[in-house]
Symmetry: C2
Subunit: 93 residues, 2 copies
């Protein structure tokens, strides 16, 4: 299964709503578990990068962390405001 398949399947319900959405995943696959995680710190800086490109409402961010023995996954879901979706009148074709 490709990643694209994953997003197609898992986001199928939201497709009908036609919202603009940005999802950032940081998956750290570790050789050992005991080391401290830097993902929480990295999370803040990654969001700062995103905010340079899109106008993000802090309330529109959902953060999820999953982990097991070997993986730590940070998931940032950002629902983008509609007012910046400025549809391009000049279509492509």
């Amino acid at each position: 299964m490709s990643l694209l398949d994953y997003f197609r399947v898992s986001r199928r319900n939201s497709a009908a709503i036609a919202k603009e959405r940005l999802q950032i995943l940081v998956a750290h696959e570790r050789a050992e578990r005991s080391k401290p995680s830097y993902l929480p710190m990295m999370q803040k800086e990654l969001l700062e990068v995103v905010q340079k490109y899109v106008n993000v409402d802090q309330n529109a961010i959902t953060i999820n962390v999953e982990q097991d023995d070997r993986h730590e996954i940070l998931e940032l879901n950002i629902l983008l405001p509609e007012d910046q979706l400025q549809p391009r009148k000049a279509g492509r074709g």
Copy 2:
């Protein structure tokens, strides 16, 4: 299927190698296709953030982009060098 499941399944083969790996995915779910993508620009800055936390060899980065009508997915796979994995002698128990 959870994201953690996705990574467990898709990375099963690499588990035996016990490498440290960081994967960053940026998935943009768009309401319309015609708008320009900012993911290529964002990619560079996201990598700069990562490099503050881990020592990344440019040759150890694999970049993949997938897209369909509604999704654009940027995937950065970073194999972390073993010399920074400093195993902690003092185990957790």
